[in-house]
Symmetry: C2
Subunit: 472 residues, 2 copies
């Protein structure tokens, strides 16, 4: 039995948590063959002592290695490296199971303009910890029991207040349903709307929602957009009675839907009893120019808009909290058909969020993030001046990404590949098109800036200029 | 404008949190008419100072009153009591929206033998707080990003280890899907199995699961039980290809399925390719006599069992964490069709649970709760000796409730009503029967003891004897 000593270079200030650095290192050693089958690893205790980390850190690294089939634990003997064939099997099984936002967006590129990233270096960890501490007190043991199916009444009231003042949404707290993320809320919604409904979506669109609705048995109808958003005539032609739109800041095009188009959509919805608009207001918190446009829901006087919001962008994706605001006719359907479903969000977490909202932390956090994102946004736009001759710059009013459309007839693939050669990742618009179809328009790439520092943005754009301009 | 002073009697050591006591008091005053329309309530700050509670406590009480439409907030003016008509409207709207476990189980009875309760007075608040504090550290900022769709690999490995040693479940971590509660997992499962499948369930059964599956469009087939559990011939006759069973401790009958019947069910499943058994192992942690019987999943060598587990009973319902263990053929379906769904459980909470499991806290907590529940269980059985002549006592080997079946031909209604007259709530078995049908058997009531103290159990049974025996 061979016992190895592991010398793992750790970076305590790196972006990756320590356990992941240990896990990555050992995994690399096994895959390269430096650690062979049957080799015994040091115990979690010994390794923790050697690396000066806590034992739960080494335990977590080993657990992940076991979960992925790289090592096994033998009772009273220790941890051993597994055979390579077993590894290959394990990897096949794991296909699709480990899509992590963090991994996806890294992908080897040095500067990743991921349009789905958010800035977590400014997350108010101390405040969150404080609020959590205040919530987990013995007086609150009630909080560990099942709560209200729609979510805690006090939290819903706080959300209602926020939506009213910040987004012009007009509703009662009892119209709000709190749920564990977009997918779950869409699952609920598809049951409320009834199985097999036809749902129209802007094309290009937020593919995740498209795939979820499709997997739920909805008949999906992609609808063309003009510069104002979804075309109402094209929508009418699909025969769909439900349309999913993102009026505040369409993903991925960045189009902010003007009031005239909003009213046309509401009129379309008003023409039949069973018609509804789903308004996905996923990142309306971030807006840099002009007056904020209130939500479509606020314009609607006839109960035609289903409003969806989330705290994934404005707080953090990991907290898994979103909500639906249902118009009254659909609220009745929900209460009759699904009112007995328990809420999917931990009551403790709901109370943490409630404190975060009502004690002013959320507003402060949003103001701070708006300033930070505006700084990055302005930095990016400033840097992009060098590209203005070759590209049209769009979507710069809101959200966390902008779009560059080639004026010189470059293909999307070429733009992406040339950037990649210089260690920069940009994202093609066509991957957001339903059925991979792309309107005749010129090729466009997306640049998200939320996760990058201003230095990275500057360096990234410098390399893009090199990649795309010097070639002429 | 009338401003009132509120003198609210608060009990800092009561079962209800302070905010709820304040909310209940003011609601009562409004409903009785002591606080009339237009009356201005003290500000949350003033009330907090007067009552010596934190401002977030009074804010929470007011928010709940607003959410339920008892009061309104006028900008820069304060909180005002609303009109009574508006109250009535609000109450109608709220129907069904505020079913809270806590409220349901109170229902006015002094001693409530709810079979769904759990003991939260012994919840390890300090440990949970400590683990939470350790999780919410800046090094872990990764944790605020989206995680793996099936749940954190390390947590799944910890669950696998627990299931293996405690329940004899044999699986890989990648077969486990962590999700936000039973309802969500059933939603996933119904998509994995395909829309409109026929699903057989024991009758009587856990009604919540029945209703969820029915609302998802499954065709439900109730199946008779004998003293061993679901009858296999009756199952065969339904034509259903999926059977939902609770072999460890059937809810509500308390039947522990013997190995012979388990094998018959596995044989039934083996006879067709598309047949599956759903094993709901909701409270197997608690067992008082005999050797623990391993899960049905552990007997299965052919990938026919879908295993469902939860931490609702063993930790707390509010944390909303459960999991599925999928056999490999269904895992492939899941990964192909639904592998892109984001996990519904907060990554932070998953990491808290991971620490709780791997640092030995869970085991310690379970051992403690087992001892506490066994104490209550033995106390109840001891007390019930006085009823032995009139009732058959069943389901006493496991779980958190027992059953009393009348030997003297008393009706269920009569038993419940006579108990109620003496402030004791017991639960009829017939409410768990599908279609309200009740097999010819004699009437049976359920007594849950998890939430009650031994004193309450003694007093409760004393009253039941008075109610049911003195009548002869």
């Amino acid at each position: 039995m061979k016992l190895v000593e592991l010398m793992i270079p750790l970076n305590a200030h790196g972006a990756k948590p320590m356990y992941e650095q240990i896990y990555q290192y050992i995994k690399g050693e096994i895959r390269q063959g430096s650690l062979r089958e049957g080799v015994r690893l040091p115990s979690t205790r010994t390794l923790a002592e050697n690396l000066k980390v806590s034992r739960s850190t080494t335990q977590m690294a080993y657990d992940q290695l076991m979960a992925e089939g790289y090592i096994e634990a033998l009772p009273n003997r220790g941890y051993f490296v597994l055979r390579m064939e077993e590894l290959l099997e394990a990897e096949t099984e794991l296909q699709g199971a480990f899509i992590q936002e963090s991994e996806k967006s890294e992908g080897g590129a040095e500067i990743d303009f991921s349009p789905r990233g958010i800035d977590l270096t400014h997350f108010p960890y101390n405040t969150w910890r404080k609020v959590t501490r205040n919530t987990l007190v013995e007086d609150n043991k009630e909080m560990f029991l099942t709560g209200s199916p729609q979510g805690e009444p006090a939290l819903r009231e706080a959300i209602r207040g926020y939506l009213h003042s910040a987004r012009g949404v007009s509703c009662q707290a009892e119209q709000i349903i709190v749920g564990a993320g977009n997918e779950y809320l869409l699952m609920l919604l598809s049951q409320i709307l009834g199985h097999g409904r036809a749902i129209a979506m802007e094309n290009p669109t937020y593919k995740q929602a498209y795939r979820v609705l499709e997997s739920l048995g909805c008949r999906m109808a992609p609808v063309k957009m003009d510069s104002f958003g979804m075309e109402v005539q094209a929508l009418e032609a699909t025969g769909a009675d439900v349309a999913y739109v993102m009026p505040s800041h369409q993903y991925p095009t960045g189009i902010v839907m003007p009031v005239t188009r909003r009213q046309e959509l509401l009129q379309w919805a008003g023409r039949k009893k069973n018609r509804y608009l789903i308004e996905d207001d996923y990142d309306s918190e971030f807006r840099y120019r002009g007056r904020p446009i209130p939500a479509l829901q606020g314009l609607d006087k006839t109960g035609k808009v289903i409003y969806m919001g989330t705290f994934s962008k404005s707080i953090a994706p990991a907290i898994r909290m979103g909500y639906l605001v249902l118009p009254n006719p659909l609220l009745s359907v929900y209460q009759k058909k699904l009112g007995f479903y328990a809420c999917t969000v931990s009551r403790i977490d709901q109370n943490i969020l409630y404190q975060f909202l009502t004690e002013g932390y959320y507003e402060r956090h949003l103001n701070r993030m708006r300033a930070i994102y505006k700084g990055k946004h302005d930095c990016l736009l400033g840097q992009l001046r060098g590209l203005e001759e070759d590209f049209e710059i769009r979507g710069e009013y809101a959200g966390l990404h902008i779009l560059l459309t080639s004026k010189k007839g470059r293909s999307e693939e070429w733009l992406i590949q040339e950037a990649e050669k210089r260690g920069v990742k940009v994202y093609g618009l066509s991957s957001h098109c339903i059925h991979g179809l792309r309107d005749s328009g010129p090729s466009t790439v997306m640049l998200g800036y939320a996760k990058l520092s201003e230095e990275q943005i500057e360096e990234g754009v410098r390399r893009l200029c090199e990649a795309w301009i010097a070639k002429y």
